[in-house]
Amino acid sequence: MKTSSRASNWTLVIRLTVMVVAAWYPRVGVAQGARGQTAAAGRVTFSETIAPILYANCVTCHRPGEAAPFSLISYDDVKKRGELVATVTRSRYMPPWHAAHGYGEFADERRLTDTQIDTIGTWVKQGMPQGNPARMPPLPQFAEGWHLGKPDLILEMPVAYNVPAGGPDIYRNFAIPTGLAEDKWVRAVEFRPSARKAVHHSLFAYVRGGAMKDFEGKDGKPGFVGLNGLGLGIGIQPNFQPSGGLGGWAVGTTPAFLSDGQAWPLAKGTDLVLQMHFHPTGKPESERSIVGLYFADQAPARRFSNIGVPSLFGLASGIDIKPGDKGFTIQDSMTLPVDVRIFSAMAHAHYLGKEMKATATLPDGSVQPLIWIQDWDFNWQDRYAYKQPLLLPKGTRIDVSIRYDNSLENPRNPNSPPRRTLWGEQSFDEMGGIQFEMVTVRPEDEAALVAGNLAGTRAAIVKGLQNGTVRRVLDHQRRAAGPPPRLQQITLLNREGKTVATVAEPGVYNQAALSPDGTRVAVIKTDLESRDADVWVFDVTTGKGTPITSDAAPNAAPVWSPDGRQIAYVSVLLDDNYSTLSRKAADGSGNEEVLYKSTAGAAPVLTDWSADGVLCFWSDKVTYAMRADGDRTPVALSDGTFNVRGGRFSSDGRFLAYSSDESGRFQVYARPFSLASNAAASSATKGSPVSTGAAIGGIFWRGDDKELFFLSSPEQAVTAADVKTSPAFEAGTPRQLFKPPNGTFAPAQLSNVATRDGQRFVVLVQLPPVPTPASTGAQR
């Protein structure tokens, strides 16, 4: 093992066109150390010992104009950063290589030997002596321009993308029409970014020409966000076909032709898609990549297959990682239907992926290591090519296991606090798989290998359809392709409908509810990136927001507890057939407490939480009351003959106001309420009408129960009626207070829409749409 790994280093060195003398370094270095009488025994110098190591392993990237920082060519360059070089080589952060050494043998392994690392450490400790400059190795020759010669097709991003100076890393896609009039075979893709320090990696794929148009420019910038399965060969989106992967590039990759005369298919009329990862560098950068494609004259004699284990990056593996879980693992196997040669392994997961391992168990029971990544880093999505293709006979079982870390101990966790994470294509979702590129030993076996792979893919899709994952992913794609969301401004109005305050930044909000003391607003906020809908609380004065929920399930219908310390809300669970009513502290602390599980088809809607501790919600046609504590058996307040919804308790708890369509249209009624006497559901108890015409909800009792508000229909005007609750309920003639600005209020502001004194109303004012680049262009 030792001998062969050393041999692999020799090959690497020679391939990098470094002079053969560099490859002799360990022997030369030791010999010089032994005979170096002018210095202490074992003294190492830059010229004789360190430069050969760096020139063979580091300067491909660490030289002027390349992606890596710090040129490591001259003595002064290296001396300045010597301590850092010693530290990062010791920790094996550099050179970057994420596959475990000795677990599969890879070509071009970027790795220093233990001896080389010790030597660098010793040199730094000894004060970094230069030695004799005359003994410096020659600098490796690097190709100028195209590495692989003139490409057959050169494509350039039509417009530059501006990478901002700061902020989080950016993942963004750019589609470039290929303009190809015929199908091609691609032997190599050479990628030349213009902002070398900002571009970390790029994956290449092709899709049906124009298929990405709907996604582009949504945020007013070139390109589009979202991974959308590009280059993953997912193919569950018929609209993208034909599509396929074309490899990738990461910092440090040397462009190369596929081995054995192989080639990727590239269909005519398609668009090339670059899926790029940018690191903001601290100053604005501008990226306009150039891509060179190298075609084969004819179809390759042999077709290779790219087979993922598990299929479709774990679409059907049941990925559902609980917050804090450090050991969630998926495992999958595939058995080779024919004899194959495996060329490469490429692992993939997102931020929570931690450890990935693949082995091959041969029919004779022997186990061959394939690849092991002990500390997965999303930023280094390398394709690991085997030094020698691995010959694996029919019946060999490939086992893959992938472990995830969804705790805060994983510094790459995108969520703090961690949140439930499901399978999905966005980088904050998870997936996982290892792709193996392979060719059958016998040409006549190709069809069997392809058929076996397709069967696995189909089985995964069927399972993904059954468990809801495919629906969720397609929903997400549909939303991503839809018009940009309209933003709203949380706004407080007075009784004349005049704006008295705006709260927090504009966002995608729903169902705002004022706290009983009027100082806070609970609202459903939809994250623009993840599209997750969570309960937030915003301070009316400062605008400061606190997330109350941060789970994958969409949340809805927040209601305040009478003391303003808790919020109850609905969670619409995604892949299960039930929804929950839960509560949590209004400052976001502590855990959520599930109060009730509903298996009704549609999620229930919470509308009130009375001073007596009774919750009101409706589900389908029926309105229910349920104690927040103690016996939580919901009591039906209507029998389902008509729709009854939007129930609100009077402040003294003796009456319930609600909307009902018993007259043929929704109107607001009020009736006496007592949980004890309500057991025999009481559509018999007829409500007294409050609204004279149609009304759609938005019911609110003033704190003294002397005034009742609701929204009239179709004007959607805030309307007030003077009411009496003693001795019996009595409503005066309703009068319109004001009509909120267009697009506000409707449809479901069902909780506390006003302050207890009835002086302030919370509405969500729709802002004008964000202009897209296309529409801006048309205006200019």
Binding site: Y93, A165, G166, H279, G282, K283, L408, P411, P414
Partner: protein, 184 residues
């Protein structure tokens, strides 16, 4: 006691010429406090923090906090520093900058990494030394976003006269090389 290190060996306050030739005394705040940022011309982590340093200095300027950038690895000639200030958008924001060719400021503040921040209060005492935030868990391990903002917390405490919760944190970045290292 930390205040003592801000005096040079001769007992006079440490001062340095900024890139425009004016004297800077980073350990003697003009108002309530100074934030000193030890930075580098080519350390990627140091450069990545440029927008955040500018944001922080803008945010705290109105509260009487001055900002000084101290370059630790550029040639004493200020040309490279001026170019860097322009490229990374530091100009015109009321942030002073100097090249610490002799490492006087780094020694006085006991700074060893770029980027590293030091807070000096109105009395000249060092109240904080360490990272700006925890965006980098280690070299090569950036978080998608920082989850603790150590420098902001320390500035808030300094301004309100309460103890800094963590007065010393580990900065992640590039080692500052002593000036005499390059003497030939």
């Amino acid at each position: 006691m930390w205040g003592l290190v801000t005096l040079s060996a001769s007992g006079t306050p440490v001062k340095i010429r900024d890139v425009d030739g004016r004297w800077l005394t980073p350990f003697q705040p003009a108002a309530r406090a100074n934030a000193i940022f030890f930075i580098s011309g080519d350390c990627p982590i140091s450069n990545t923090y440029a927008p955040e340093i500018q944001r922080l200095c803008g945010q705290f300027a109105s509260q009487g906090v001055g900002c000084s950038l101290i370059y630790e690895d550029l040639p004493p000639d200020v040309t490279a520093a001026r170019k860097h200030l322009d490229e990374y958008g530091y100009r015109g924001r009321g942030i002073s900058a100097a090249v610490d060719g002799a490492r006087t400021i780094a020694r006085a503040a006991r700074a060893s990494i770029t980027p590293q921040a030091v807070i000096v209060d109105a009395t000249g005492a060092i109240k904080y030394r360490g990272r700006i935030d925890n965006r980098y868990a280690a070299l090569g391990k950036p978080r998608p976003q920082a989850t603790t903002h150590d420098l902001i917390d320390a500035l808030d405490a300094t301004l309100s006269g309460t103890p800094v919760p963590a007065p010393e944190t580990q900065a992640v970045g590039c080692a500052i090389v002593p000036a005499d290292f390059f003497r030939k």
